[in-house]
């Protein structure tokens, strides 16, 4: 009952929010029109728009409900009898928030007839969640937001440059691409030494481990109330 209250507490004011809704509409429209050009230009346009611009910004809007200062976290830990309820509340609210945006883009991609690309869009959910929960535990809110943007936008941008080169990247970069830039990795899967299914499996496994580790970290975290 208290955990359910914690989820409700964290989801409050996430929806409906005018900025979130506006961004959601823009994201779906941009994905729709960029995919219409895919036959002529390839998937680069939609990759850039979805993976490097709209989804990271949308992710930050959701993350702002999860990244909280130490005093707020301390207050919530006392309120919900410890880290279990607070962590679950934040995790579920992040899932709910991300799911709306990611699912909207994924459905748009599917309707345009690109099922594999849709799977890569859906992979954004576990990876964003994993990054979000790790940053929530180990960084202050401003640092976490900046790091989240770098990891979800700047790094995929750098990977995009690497992946569009004619020579194939190494195993480590390929794994990093599947994790941080699954759309890019899917578009360029032919160049990667790791098959797409293996890449997806590693991405989901790594995300799960990261979320579990962040829970353990949250349980053991020391706080500073000053």
């Amino acid at each position: 009952m208290l955990t359910r209250k914690a989820v409700k507490w964290h989801i409050k004011n996430m929806f409906p929010h005018p900025v979130t809704e506006m961004l959601l509409g823009l994201m779906v429209l941009a994905t729709w029109y960029s995919l219409q050009d895919a036959k002529r230009m390839g998937f680069y346009e939609s990759e850039v728009i979805a993976e490097m611009v709209f989804l990271p910004v949308y992710g930050i809007l959701v993350a702002s409900h999860v990244f909280k200062g130490q005093r707020v976290t301390l207050f919530e830990l006392t309120l919900f009898n410890g880290p279990g309820g607070v962590f679950v509340g934040r995790l579920v609210s992040a899932i709910a928030g991300l799911l709306v945006g990611i699912l909207s883009v994924a459905i748009t991609v599917y309707v345009q007839g690109h099922p594999l690309l849709m799977v890569s869009v859906l992979l954004k959910l576990p990876t964003y969640l994993a990054i979000m929960m790790v940053l929530m535990v180990w960084m202050d809110s401003l640092g976490a937001i900046i790091s989240f943007y770098i990891l979800t936008s700047a790094v995929p941008m750098a990977l995009f440059v690497i992946l569009t080169k004619p020579y194939p990247p190494g195993t480590a970069v390929s794994l990093l691409a599947y994790f941080l830039s699954p759309i890019g990795a899917t578009v360029e899967t032919g160049k990667l030494p790791i098959p797409v299914l293996d890449g997806y499996t590693v991405t989901i496994s790594l995300s799960t481990v990261m979320i579990l580790l962040s829970y353990l970290g949250f349980k053991m975290k020391d706080f500073n109330s000053q």
């Binding site: 507490w9 409050k12 005093r71 707020v72 207050f75 919900f80 009898n81 020391d222 109330s225």
Partner: protein, 271 residues
Amino acid sequence: MIVEAENLGVSYGGTWGIRDLTFKAKTDRLALIGHNGSGKTTLLSILSGIRHPTIGRAMINGREPYERKDKWVAIRYSFEKPQFRIPVKVRDLVEVLQTNPRCPRVDEFIEALGIIQFLDGRIDSLSSGQAQLCNLLVALSCDSEVVVLDEPTAHLDSYRAGIVDELISKKKGVIIATHDFEEGEAVADYFLILREGRLVWSGTRRELFSNDVYEVTLVETGGQLPFKTLYRFGATLIVKADGDELVDMLFKGIIAGFKRAGLRYAYAKSS
């Protein structure tokens, strides 16, 4: 409640917040007294279990609070700077507390703390005093072994501060940090005075008040008394005097009042 520390120290990247603290206090309500930056909040963060010490150890009732798995329910903590960026209403907070089986006295405390007057306010837009009352509601209305309160009345008006002090003085298992001597004397029965992160005085109420030293308030701000003045704080003087003579001066209208010197004297003496 038995609160003890052995060679306790907390370092913030090379700067010691508290250092070499060793004490043992058997008490219902412990007050940590000290000026800003004296290490009160650092010691509270150890006693409330939210952080580990760098060296040494602290114990409450024989257990190290930061090692306790049940610390979030056994120890309730209310910190000093209660500004929360939480976009929910006070009513939502109250609802959460009402569903928490460990918080049976929510309704009683909403009334006592005056929270009922701003139930529809959003937590992120409350005044610092109102936010502090919400913080206190969470700490006081739930069952726990220990309640740790950092400057609980720092943002409250004197009327509300009095109500809070009255509530605290009835509770057992309270650890409070304050730089308000009157508040410390009003609620606690064991005192630790900290200065620059070190313990400079500790003792019970009896030890605090058992001497011939009095705290006297003058009628005239620039007035003098025919006693040895130990310390002077504006119109408040710490003097070594005879109680009967002070009574006489009170009735003659020379002094506005007096009491046995307590924390103010212990604090000044330890500096």
